[in-house]
């Protein structure tokens, strides 16, 4: 099928301002949006830039704004768009390095700020084996552990657009995954970090994050659970 792509372009070495590149490509309806972009890059204009790697929705490289909604270009099929006109932009709220490539450093700074690692200095089991956990306890955190740090959520959040210092939904999902892990011992510290001015209280429950998450993580609910834990002092 014929497809018309409109891609927001910006090359800081040449352009004073972003501009729209328009391209016509011939694709299969079952092709990914990524395939359509690749077709432009490979056969029409090699200067077009984007990040991508696994091409099947697990590495989190190619989150971008497609027809006004953040998605992974490799996890969205052309036939599922319902139109033969596709508009593609970089994630909003992040500095553009070139074309669809945005500066991910502030995003990863927020990630690093919430102590995204297990903390437990208690002695390890004397038998040299694993710590015990029930499957129910694993299930409590399993949605959050699916996060691939693609930034589709944070890049869709009006609170984050308004103030990039807001830690953002992705970092809260990562914190949630440890706060509710029965093996972790730093929940109080993480809740303290998220109780600060740029923490969870910036969330205005717009639900954009939940709507765009390619891993179907119930992000807004997780943020609410963290808010509740801060207010009640109870982690359950």
């Amino acid at each position: 099928m014929k497809l018309h792509l409109k891609i927001k372009r910006f090359n800081p070495e040449k352009d004073k301002a972003p501009w729209w590149g328009e391209y016509d490509v011939d694709v299969e309806p079952t092709d990914r949006v990524l395939d359509a972009i690749h077709y432009v890059k490979y056969y029409q204009d090699g200067t077009l830039n984007l990040r991508r790697s696994c091409a099947h929705g697990v590495c989190g490289s190619d989150a971008m704004r497609i027809n006004g909604k953040n998605a992974l270009a490799c996890k969205l099929l052309v036939q599922d768009l319902g139109t033969d006109h596709i508009t593609i932009e970089p994630l909003l709220g992040m500095r553009v390095i070139k074309d669809l490539v945005v500066d991910m450093e502030p995003f990863f700074d927020h990630y690093r700020s919430i102590m995204p690692f297990l903390v437990n200095d208690e002695p390890l089991p004397a038998n040299g084996r694993e710590r015990l956990q029930t499957q129910e306890q694993v299930d409590r955190i399993s949605e959050g552990t699916k996060c691939i740090l693609c930034a589709a959520c944070t890049g869709s959040c009006p609170a984050f657009w308004a103030n990039g210092k807001y830690v953002g939904p992705s970092a809260i999902v990562q914190a949630h995954r440890f706060i509710f892990d029965t093996r972790d011992r730093a929940s109080a510290q993480r809740l303290g970090i998220l109780n600060e001015r740029m923490g969870v209280w910036r969330c205005r429950t717009a639900f954009n994050c939940t709507n765009v998450c390619p891993k179907d993580i119930p992000i807004t609910r997780q943020i609410a659970e963290v808010k509740n834990a801060i207010l009640s002092g109870v982690i359950a």
């Binding site: 200067t47 696994c54 091409a55 099947h56 099929l77 694993v138 699916k146 691939i148």
Partner: protein, 605 residues
């Protein structure tokens, strides 16, 4: 302006092996990790079904000896048995270490790590299938990658993200570092190291239908080859039997661990014919060959080039192929295999709980690579250690996988040998001073890149396109160096690659900029892949037998008398630089297989 850095240990690649090495190296010495992707984008994250260790948590009588035996037999007796023993023994402790780091493993009713079946993993030396694969649903690799990256953050490991290694720096016979391009700026960085580890993963993009990521082009492996060092067992490339038809996206062997069966166009469960004992849980090489044999006999679906993987619960229950022959439910499958069920729904538009899924073998894993010893130290053609150079993970060849890797053993390899390498790098750095960098050590590769950058296309028809040449390379490798190979097909691949290397000299690009110039880097990657593809095709053509993942129609049997040995290939034109190796300028070598506990036997399942 070139920027210089000095670290005791530099690790190239931030997948499972690189991060595990970084965690251990950074405990004892000044360590940096450079990676052309953000670490969490690494392809370890795409591994699905599990990581093997004989924890015996399921009480089915597992032990590390059985894991070692399965690994050796699975590798068609080409694995070095001392290395396979280390793999199987260290696996137990390594998995426990991952759990202590916070990896959210699935659990047994009593709270220990849950385990499931996987192809070729048996108890009592092949007697019956065993539950050995530890897992986090079907995103085990994702959880390993995340957990290791989290621990690296905790330990404040220094990362150079989106840095692209383009050359290996040697001073005489000693490795002294590498050259990398900072993708965001185009700046050249020289990393001066005491110990450098290549942990860059595979290079499956030399094939057309592959489970591998776009980034898996093997540039650091090519850099090693271009610098005149040998690569080992390159002819052994694994085709995973169950890739999504045409796309190559992997559908984990865990599906068959949970009871899925392969079905041909006549509706038969054909693996009963090829592997009567373990059937659909035979090793990958055997299943891929069986699928291709069915297709060639006209028994693909509607006579086409694919078969079905059927993981509908009613099918599994009809064949009693679930674990222990027990009934499985849709609910259980949805919980155990959520990712791959979603892949099928998204990319095929069908529900695998309602319909069988079209699959075909997909190029998946390089058993060969940079030769190392058991401490991840890189070896030269005479099996002497190259001071300062290490390698671990898919790009390395220890060899634990021999001629065919068992499912789940790649993740074991990463953590076991990444860890051993990281520790060894600390020991080496402690007792060694920096060896001097040669003068202007980065000049040659910088000139190479500048020459590419200046070849800007003047009109759409000017010069050769990277994408055109890349597709042609992938096509010939897919067609001619595939599951089944003949002298004729491989010679055709070699001839095609010769032509492509010649055409590569006339490559033109569109982007002459500095900032995030992936157009330039993809041209460089193509050159690297052409070198590696030539190594694969040449060594495959040379090995006149069938063993593991290398199946020749003109030499259908294993020939231990002549070929129970590892192959080596290195460039022989006397040059040593970062440029494309001229076609045909290679030399073969060999090294013996370290046998041991298990005498080579006919491989039956």
């Amino acid at each position: 302006m070139t920027k210089f850095h000095q670290f005791d240990a530099v690790i190239v690649g931030a997948g499972g092996a690189g991060l595990m090495a970084a965690l251990h190296a950074s405990k004892g010495c000044n360590t940096a990790v450079i990676s052309k992707l953000y670490p969490t984008r690494s392809h370890t994250g795409a591994a699905q079904g599990g990581i093997a260790a004989a924890l015996n948590n399921m009480g089915d009588g597992d032990s590390w000896e059985f894991h070692m035996f399965d690994t050796v037999k699975g590798g068609d007796y080409l694995a070095d048995q001392d290395s396979a023993e280390i793999l199987a023994k260290d696996a137990i402790d390594a998995i426990i270490e991952l759990e202590h780091m916070g990896l959210p493993f699935d659990r047994t009713p009593d709270g220990r790590i849950d385990q499931r079946r996987f192809g070729g993993h048996t108890a009592n030396f092949g007697e019956r299938l065993v539950m050995r694969s530890c897992k986090a649903a079907d995103r085990t690799g994702h959880m390993i990658l995340q957990t290791l990256y989290q621990q690296c953050i905790k330990q404040k490991v220094r990362f150079f993200d989106e840095f692209f290694m383009v050359d290996l720096l040697m001073n005489g016979n000693t490795c002294v570092g590498c050259v990398a391009i900072e993708i965001a700026t185009g700046e050249v960085h020289v990393f001066h190291s005491k110990a450098l580890m290549i942990a860059s993963g595979g290079f499956g993009k030399i094939f057309k239908v592959t489970s591998n990521a776009v980034s898996l082009t093997g540039d650091p492996v090519a850099a090693v080859y271009r610098r005149g060092l040998p690569l080992e067992d390159m002819e052994f490339f694994q085709f995973h039997p169950t890739g999504i038809y045409k796309l190559g996206i992997l559908l984990s062997e865990a599906a068959r661990g949970e009871g899925s069966v392969l079905i041909n166009g006549k509706g038969e469960r054909f693996m009963e014919q090829y592997a009567p004992s373990v059937k659909d849980l035979a090793p990958r090489d055997l299943i891929s060959r069986s699928i291709m044999s069915e297709i060639r006999a006209g028994r693909g679906i509607d006579g086409k080039d694919y078969v079905y993987m059927d993981f509908r619960p009613e099918t599994i229950n009809k064949f009693k192929s679930g674990p222990g022959g027990k009934e499985v439910t849709r609910e259980h499958l949805e919980k155990s295999l959520p990712e791959i069920i979603e892949f099928v729904r998204v990319y095929m538009g069908i529900d695998p709980m309602e319909h069988p899924v079209p699959i075909q073998p997909t190029a998946h894993y390089a058993m060969g690579g940079i030769p190392t010893d058991n401490e991840a130290r890189v070896l030269d053609a005479n099996e002497k250690v190259i001071p300062g150079l290490y390698s671990a993970g898919e790009c390395a060849c220890v060899s634990v996988h021999g001629a065919n890797r068992l499912g789940t053993n790649s993740l074991v390899d990463l953590v076991v040998f990444g860890r051993r390498g990281g520790k060894e790098m600390v020991e080496y750095a402690k007792k060694t001073d920096f060896t001097a960098l040669p003068k202007n050590s980065e000049a040659q590769v910088v000139a190479e890149l500048e020459s590419l950058r200046n070849r800007v296309r003047k009109d759409p028809k000017d010069g050769e396109r990277v994408s055109t040449l890349r597709t042609a390379m992938q096509d010939t490798m897919q067609l001619n160096v595939s599951v089944y190979r003949t002298a004729e097909s491989m010679a055709k691949a070699v001839a095609d690659l010769a032509e492509l290397k010649a055409r590569y000299a006339n490559v033109k690009i569109d982007d002459s900029g500095k900032i995030f110039n992936t157009d330039l880097l993809e041209a460089f990657e193509l050159g690297c892949m052409l070198d590696l593809a030539e190594c694969v095709a040449r060594t495959a053509l040379a090995r006149q037998e069938s063993r593991g993942g290398h199946a020749r129609e003109d030499f259908p049997n294993r020939d231990d008398k002549k070929w129970l040995k590892h192959s080596l290939i290195w460039r022989n034109d006397g040059a040593s630089n970062a440029s494309l190796v001229p076609h045909g300028k290679y030399q073969f070598g060999e090294r013996p297989v370290r046998l041991g506990r298990f005498e080579p036997k006919e491989r039956k399942y």
